[in-house]
């Protein structure tokens, strides 16, 4: 049976970077703290707060790019965690409801 079929697999891996602080705020990333003690104003998306990109995270991502011999360029895109215009799917664990992703395109 198996010989008739070919299995095709792609993997998406999410790796938490071991930076001292978060991607867009200065809050600590240390594991094991009491709930909600390491979420600052930016992380909980209070009105008026702004994200600031973490250079250490970018540097680590660049290291990865160098290690696997990819091309390196950084562009920061904001992605909304919503689906189609007619429906709103918000996720409570996603305070800003937008996920800023940096997609690095060839420079």
């Amino acid at each position: 049976m198996r010989d008739k079929w070919e299995i095709v697999i792609g993997l998406e891996t999410h790796a938490q970077l071991n930076t001292r602080s978060k991607m867009f705020s200065g809050a600590s990333t240390a594991f094991g703290a009491a709930p909600n003690t390491q979420a600052c104003a930016v992380d909980i998306a209070l009105p008026g707060v702004l994200p600031v990109a973490n250079r250490e995270a970018v540097a680590k991502a660049v290291r990865f790019g160098l290690a696997v011999n990819g091309s390196n360029a950084v562009n920061i895109n904001r992605r909304s965690a919503r689906s189609s215009p007619a429906k709103t799917i918000s996720i409570p664990t996603f305070p800003r409801a937008i996920r800023s992703a940096s997609t690095r395109r060839p420079s």
Partner: protein, 485 residues
Amino acid sequence: MHNATLKSLSASLSARAFSSVELTRHFVNRINQLNPKYNCFITLDPERSLKQAEAADRMRSAGRGQPLTGIPIAQKDIFCAQGWLTTCGSKILSNFTSPYDAHVVERLNAAGAVTLGKTNMDEFAMGSSSETSYYGPVRNPWDVDKVPGGSSGGSAAAVAARLAPSAIGTDTGGSIRQPAALSGICGLKPTYGVVSRYGMIAFASSLDQGGPLGRSAEDLALLLNVMAGFDPRDSTSLEREWEDYTRELGKAVKGLKIGLPEEFFAKGAAPDVVRAVETAVGEFRKLGCETVEVGLPNMKLSVPVYYVLAPAEASSNLARYDGVRYGYRAPEYADLPDMYKKSRAQGFGPEVKRRILIGTYVLSHGYYDAYYIQAQRVRRLIARDFAEVFKRCDVIMGPTSPTTAFRIGEKMGDPVQMYLNDIYTTPANLAGLPGLSIPCGFDGKGLPVGLQMIGNYFGEAKMLGIAHQFQQATDWHQRMPPGIQ
């Protein structure tokens, strides 16, 4: 006392003619008396304001007085202020007491200014009339049946009615300049990046700028001196050497080249408005300025471009208001998705919903290129038009708004009509350029007309200087609404 400029109040405080406590109490009393008539303020806390005034007086006694120390300032309810209810004119934040101060508020506090209260505004800064507020419309002190303009209408009306010597607001598509024009006062939108947006509840991140409102160019300069400056918490904030925005106030304008874009004077503006603006330009000629006809060919696309880009950014910025961590939460719901739906449906007003829908639409798969990307392209063209024009002149002038104050309710039925109020103001936001509006006359009904100046990047000091010279030669800026003593 309430008719004095910020400049002279500062001098009086310095000279100990009166204390900040006395000054603040004076305004607090006036507000108690007159605010119900104009609905400028959403939140007042006289006890707190007076405490700040006391601290300011102590600061002065200790010899640490600064120009703004002890000066009461009305703050648009879009600026987060620690311990103050900060609503952004919306039901969805009607229970939000901010745990932190916006950068601008921090700077004002450090300078010893007094928070007089949080002013009324279009909900989430979306509007040109201050009618979309959850807290009811603001009324124009020149005619209470008319709008004061928006979205910083509460701040503008407070200054016009002499309920505050000065105020701060925000301008995304004209929201400082247009209400300043319709309310007969001065307002400035700085170059994008000069004033930090941290703590300024976001509407459209690439367009929003905080700025001062007051009754003279000099007052605006004094306020901007405190508001402007780099903030690492805002990635779009610019790191530059400190500027004294009062430094060109005394500079003569002889020889200045004023660009008059034909698009600003084409049909669409009310004749009274055009007349008043042309008279003002005549004043400048008397002062020795030259005028030159210029063109901004892509300006006619400003409103559509703005109404694609701003809602797009807003749809993303407003996604965080879901009733989970703060703000209004629907009292009844079936499950989590229902809670989100109901909280937002009940918490947002119709104009906000309209813009979120537009924004979501223009960003969606299949429309992104046709709308959002295209609008960004045209935005760059608009900016380029200005760059070309500034090769031929020092400053651009024209009307701030196509009409004077219109009746409350008049344009609420037709959003596009309302959007067309922004035809002269949105270009500066799209290009990131500084824009200023000062009073320059009245229409046949006694309603104020505003003269707009648009300068090149970082041209605030220059523009304020030009405006100051105009205000030495004319007195439009000193007129008071009828009924205000």
